[in-house]
Symmetry: C2
Subunit: 867 residues, 2 copies
């Protein structure tokens, strides 16, 4: 038997079902499914998405069998409907719609009222007893066909319509009578002849074929390609085409059309929610000339129809076991469902619906967990911009959505001003070319951060996410002039002190203030988290450097600190002076003296953290960044600091120059610092142990950038000596696995380590050879070209970096069965990466505080998807 390309639906002759989404598309599969359920669906047929693939591979032509199957289906449709396409008595009219396996709303083309021509328009007039309606339908069809199928600009049709209206002295289309519309039709046909050199095709089969071609052709229109790129839609065959008999909602007062949900998509509230228009077609709703009515009103207008609608809607929800988004048309009192699909919903609604459905016995807890898109929780955890106010504001510039949330504040251009203004009680937005660790305090007091350079994993982005603070990074649209204290976007100049608003979830920057809506965590959220915790096997820790961050994380359910970066503690207030004194000292004694000044601060930091975390584990990573990060880089700052440090500008510059590195990522940092300057490790170990003694905590000390077991041995020795001196016995020492060599020699390293924590940010950089600060230049293109499916800094590169992780897990566990394994890179908060961590058997993930709930949910989903 030949391959089946065309699937009939409706009238008890349905050939498809909902599981055939891949070839029938979402719309086609659901039409078939509804027909199977006995839901009234206007009959029609779906041309498989496989034909789309063949169409493109075949130089935009079809094999004969496809054409034959379309003919057969059309014949069947005509028989069932008792009407014929183009018939001058009672013509069959059809819609031709796209429908891919993944919904791409509005991206592809649709043709309605197909089958009308100079003859059949008369039949329609007669049959409906409404000549004006028939002519208007013809007019609409010509316009749609002319635009969509023949590629004539929409405005040319509009111009004709306007011209006729103005000649007739009327304002609205509805005021045109049959004759007027006939004039429009004639002018439309003339336009088509003029533009295409050919007459408008009167043959309905030709109309149909051309419409099908156009819909398949629209799969690769620029809009559709862009949409798929933006939404990361890949691996589809193409779109299917649905040819369906038309029903009309504009055939009088017992006709209408509408859209409804089985539950409220914003709040999740149970019950039919939607709107409709009497005596209207779908496009009238969109046109916005008439305001639709809430669906409840239908009960008054057509109580029987409403009752039937509710009954079917509930049936559909029960059948699909999820909230449905439905389109319907009432033609002369007869209800038709044109579409049903799982409805999109807000995070808030998603949680409520999932929990409610469990309580209704519709789905299991496990299904409920799987229903929530983890990333969507972000909406609930961060402030958001008031959606109405936002829609009425113009976007000033757009950068990367580096850290979600919303922020309103006055523009400042440096950390110092940020601090001063914040102390004065002002809300500030820190705007920088890029941030460096020196800006930490400024970032901390700012409501939001906006940078010109840097990607999703730039310093600004990483730190902001850690702080749960809104950040728009890499906003190349703007040009900062630090000197004149202003930034420009095109013609706009924004001066220091002016208000701007950031949307960290979209990367948009607005001029002025937009109201911000604060997040709230309801019982549904808590319930889903509770269920997730019951299911998941991975522990969820947090990356937190301050008691404040730690508190937020614990509130969100963090079970420990997986990464406390001690370097952030080096920047605050007086400390940075001591740090610089240490760096600038040429002698061991000098360095030790400076480090002694830091010791009490560090100790207090750790006491603070240990107190917040109580019995929960706290993993502290020793100093990681290269020392030059602590020195100033701009001329003015250098002068200032030289004076402050009481040394010559030359001496300071010399040191800065001496510490300069070609590739700081691969330079003198991580444990390399602790090995060449053991006094730094000694100070940090002392601070940790003294704090542990005061609080009773059992610290986990983590050595960064280990690539060779001997590095770990060296630092263990240094730390062990301090522990012995202070009489501390209860502590753990582990290592970051972030250098490929560390993963490769994990068996050796495991012998000396109590735990591993995969630092997948650096591991990705070194394994793929991508500097995350520079990769923007080619990585976007790489993702577009499909070389990497995703940005490997956002989504773990399972085939490359992941293989190294897997190797390290195997090697490490082979040597030490109970080796504790975690991840503390950015990927520790990304759902698909979390699933991978679960699969390779890690013990926990650690992520920024605001991603802890996401990780809890994703970890539970990982269990459910892999059992």
């Amino acid at each position: 038997m030949a391959q089946k390309f065309v699937y009939f639906f409706g009238a008890g002759q349905t050939e498809g079902k909902k599981e055939m989404k891949n070839i029938l598309g979402g719309k086609g599969a659901n039409l078939a499914e509804m027909a199977n359920l006995g839901v009234p669906v206007p009959p029609g047929f779906t041309i498989s998405a496989e034909v789309c693939d063949i169409f493109y591979k075949n130089n935009k032509t079809y094999p004969q069998e496809v054409l034959d199957q379309i003919d057969d289906a059309l014949k069947k449709l005509e028989e069932i409907m008792g009407k014929k396409l183009g018939d001058s008595n009672d013509p069959l009219l059809v819609s031709v719609r796209s429908g891919a396996a993944v919904s791409m709303p509005g991206m592809m083309d649709t043709v309605l009222n197909l089958g009308l021509n100079d003859e059949s328009v008369k039949g329609l007039a007669e049959k409906t007893n409404n000549p004006r309606f028939a002519m208007d339908s013809y007019r609409r069809f010509l316009q749609m066909f002319g635009n969509v199928v023949l590629g004539i600009e929409h405005s040319k049709f509009e111009d004709i319509l306007e011209e006729v209206k103005s000649t007739k002295g009327v304002e609205y289309d509805t005021e045109l009578n049959e004759e007027d519309l006939k004039e429009v039709v004639e002018k439309y046909k003339a336009l088509i002849k003029e533009e295409t050199g050919e007459d408008f095709p009167q043959n309905p089969r030709e109309q149909l074929q051309k419409a099908i071609d156009a819909v398949f052709g629209s799969w690769n229109n620029p809009r559709a390609i862009a949409y798929r790129k933006i939404h990361n839609i890949k691996g589809l065959l193409g779109t299917a085409v649905n040819v369906q008999s038309m029903v009309f909602g504009n055939m009088g007062d017992n006709s209408g059309t509408g859209v409804a949900f089985t539950r409220n998509p914003s709040t999740g509230e149970k019950g039919i929610y939607g709107e409709f228009l009497m005596n209207a077609q779908g496009e009238d709703v969109v046109a916005g000339i008439r305001t639709p009515m809430p669906i409840e009103k239908l009960k008054e207008k057509l109580p029987e129809v409403y009752e039937k609608f509710v009954e079917i809607a509930e049936k559909l929800e029960k059948h699909y076991k999820d909230m449905q988004d439905m389109e319907f048309t009432i033609q002369e009192g007869e209800l038709y469902f044109l579409q049903t699909r799982t409805g999109k919903r807000t995070a808030k609604a998603a949680l409520k619906i999932a929990v409610d459905m469990v309580e209704e016995g519709l789905i299991t807890k496990e299904e409920a967990i799987l229903r929530i898109e983890p990333e969507q929780l972000n909406q609930l955890l961060h402030p958001t911009l008031d959606s109405v106010a936002k829609q009425n504001s113009d976007v000033l510039a757009k950068g990367l959505p580096a850290s979600p949330g919303a922020a309103v504040g006055e523009v400042v251009f440096d950390a110092e001003t940020a601090k001063q203004w914040a102390e004065e009680g002002k809300d500030v937005i820190l705007v920088r070319l890029e941030t460096s660790p020196e800006d930490i305090e400024g970032m901390n007091v700012a409501k939001g951060i906006l940078t010109v350079r840097g990607g999703m994993t730039s310093h600004a982005a990483v730190v902001a996410r850690g702080m749960g603070k809104c950040c728009v990074a890499g906003c190349g649209d703007i040009t900062i002039d630090y000197e004149s204290r202003e930034f420009r976007v095109g013609e706009n100049v924004v001066r220091e002190g002016e208000f701007i608003t950031l949307d960290g979830s979209t990367g948009e920057v607005y001029l002025g203030k937009i109201p911000v809506v604060e997040p709230e965590l309801d019982d549904y959220f808590k319930k889903i988290m509770e269920w997730s915790d019951e299911v998941r096997k991975l522990g969820v820790r947090t990356n937190a450097d301050t008691p404040k961050d730690a508190e937020v994380a614990v509130k969100f359910g963090a079970e420990g600190i997986g990464l406390c970066r001690t370097e952030h503690m080096f920047f605050e207030g007086e400390r940075i002076k001591a740090v610089r004194e240490m760096i600038l000292s040429d002698t061991l004694e000098g360095r030790k003296k400076a480090l002694e000044k830091l010791l009490p601060y560090q100790k207090q930091d750790f006491i603070g953290l240990f107190k917040v975390m109580g019995e929960k584990p706290v993993t502290i990573r020793l100093l990681d960044p290269p020392l030059h990060e602590f020195l100033p880089h701009e001329e003015e700052e250098i002068q200032e600091i030289a004076q402050e440090m009481n040394i010559s500008v030359e001496k300071l510059k010399e040191k800065i120059n001496e510490l300069k590195e070609f590739n700081p990522m691969l330079g003198h940092r991580g444990c390399r610092l602790g090995i060449t300057y053991p006094e730094i490790t000694e100070m940090q170990a002392r601070a940790i142990f003294e704090a542990a003694k005061e609080t009773g905590a059992i610290p986990e000390i983590m050595i960064p950038l280990v690539g060779n077991v001997k590095e770990l041995q060296n630092q263990k020795q240094v730390i062990g000596n301090i522990a012995k001196e202070l009489g501390v016995e209860n502590y753990k020492i582990g290592t970051m696995i972030e250098v490929p060599r560390g993963a490769i020699t994990a068996d050796e390293i495991a012998k000396e380590a109590d735990f591993f924590s995969f630092g997948t940010n650096d591991l990705t950089q070194m394994t793929c050879g991508f500097s995350r600060d520079d990769a923007g230049k080619f990585l976007t293109e790489y993702v577009e070209l499909g070389i990497y499916e995703n940005d490997p800094f956002k989504v773990l590169d399972q085939d490359g970096v992941g293989q190294l992780m897997r190797l390290a897990v195997e090697k490490g566990r082979a040597v030490k069965e109970n080796l504790k394994l975690g991840i503390c890179g950015e990927h520790g908060g990304e759902p698909s990466s979390i699933e991978f961590c679960h699969k390779i058997g890690l013990d926990y993930v650690s992520c920024s505080p605001y991603r802890v709930p996401i990780a809890r949910l994703a970890a539970a989903q990982a269990v459910l998807r892999n059992s």
Copy 2:
């Protein structure tokens, strides 16, 4: 039975043998072996190196059994010699010498004439009938014991001696008579009492024990530790101690002492070669008061002794099957051998000796191959400084021996001047802070290169080695002042135009000119190469970018080009302008136009290479470095080039800034360039294919920095299109494996690749996380601390990087059995790395032209060591 710590030798009672070097040390094992062979050796005993280990582990004390075994051995020695230590009639005197498994000449302590005291000195006088000799021996012993064992400064003894000489009005020691010497002895004893608070120990057993302690103690004196560090001597237990009965070469005219080799260690000429002094002790030779005579003279003086010496020497050489370095003493006509060991020799001698010994039937060809230290060949392949002239010159500064050879020339500070002066026929040395690709032409015309920054694998070092040009890198001693055209080393100022001399094999920099000796390759060299070629399995290719380099390499035996770096071709003359034009262009058309200008140059480059290489394979790597390397960086240059390019300085600076990268190593380079700018790949492919068509060559095109098979697919497509266009079918496409991800996913990549070439420079950087330009700051310390045994940029890190290579080989071959595998990093010319490449089954190594012979030899040794 208790563990044996003391081994007797001599008088038919020898307990050791040459295979016991590990515990007896080289000297002890060879003394035992000689005794076993019937060679006259003064009897004695060796205290095992294991005792040294115990000594240190035991807080510098011995277990009783060690002391007991020493007592027993001493008793046996006294019995055999018929003399007693400290006897007032005929005392036994002994020497106490160090001797580790690896020779450390002069680094540890020695005590001679032990056993003398106020009583036995009389016995010695009587027995030798030479009271002055006896008293002088006593005097010498006191001095040596006082210095070595008791730690009294040598000069204090010398002062006393000078004082007595001056009182007596004599000039030389030899003019002092017995009484004078007795006065010296008394004063020495008083000095010892004064310095140590104790009398000089008259008890000979106590003397012996203290001397043994001192020798063991000297194992860890700073000199010895430094020596081991410098010579990378590791893993030894410690030193053994040899206690041996004294023989005296200064007992009259039928006594003497000397040193001789069985062959000439400079030339390899067969026959006894050495020198001796009649009536003298070893130290007299060192003192340099009397000039030793050539060994042949001994034939005249003591023909029988000479004859016996020659006979034994030949016996020893035959026994050890290698050239021997022997120490001997003649006591009153009686010949004694004090030491024999395999003699050190020049590369030239090593080759001749090895080849001669094969012809003499003494060793096999395979043994001959294993006899040559591959690195030693460097001596023969590069010019060297005249050794005498060098010894008479003062070292001005010392850097890293970055590229071997010697160079004399006038100092210049920039590439431009270098070119001008070279055109004027001057020899120049290019002195730079560091070099960049812009300096290539200057480097090319310079005789040698001196840089202040950068390590063994810095740009300067790598390029210089490729060019076979002498280079001293990372010479931090000097400070360059570009503006005043001079550099400083301490007080010395060297101006542009002054002559300096570089020794690239030691890193030394000399002021002025030192004569240079040109290399010559003799028949012995050729023979060893020929034998090596018969044995080795690895192919040996070369890294060469120019026809000139390729010619040199072919002369040295290269079988192909394993790496032609095309970027070097971008810098010469007019080309750089076109390259910059391309980079500065914002449009595809602009870039294509600029690339069209480059095409004919590139084509000619490849024609040149293909012609030199004939049938031999040529692997061409497409453009690798980030584009900013082609733009100027210094203000002056920027201005100049902006003018030249006819663009504004601002525009140029903007572009430079735009291309700036935080970590260029991990940035927009390698195939990432060819993917984002396919027009570059197209131009290069076109140049290669057009050149191939003209010459009939079958090019191998290599894609750099591949970490993902899709990168390779992308570039293959681009290249394939050009090939199709030009009708070229015969070519290969392969990839560098230099990104860890490339190794990890080698199975995927192999599906698309005809060959892999391991780029171990970058692979080391990314696997270990070391930037080779920055690692100097900690890597030296890492090697000192033993974290890495060697600098992983010099010697392949087999445990880390090597494991990734092994993985890639396995994965690659699993998919494609006949996948061609090579290496083209610096390690391709390093013997131990070559052995590793052999073991993991690579097909070839590729190294700089001047290392080709080293690679050929090392590849042969790899076979012999692993079969």
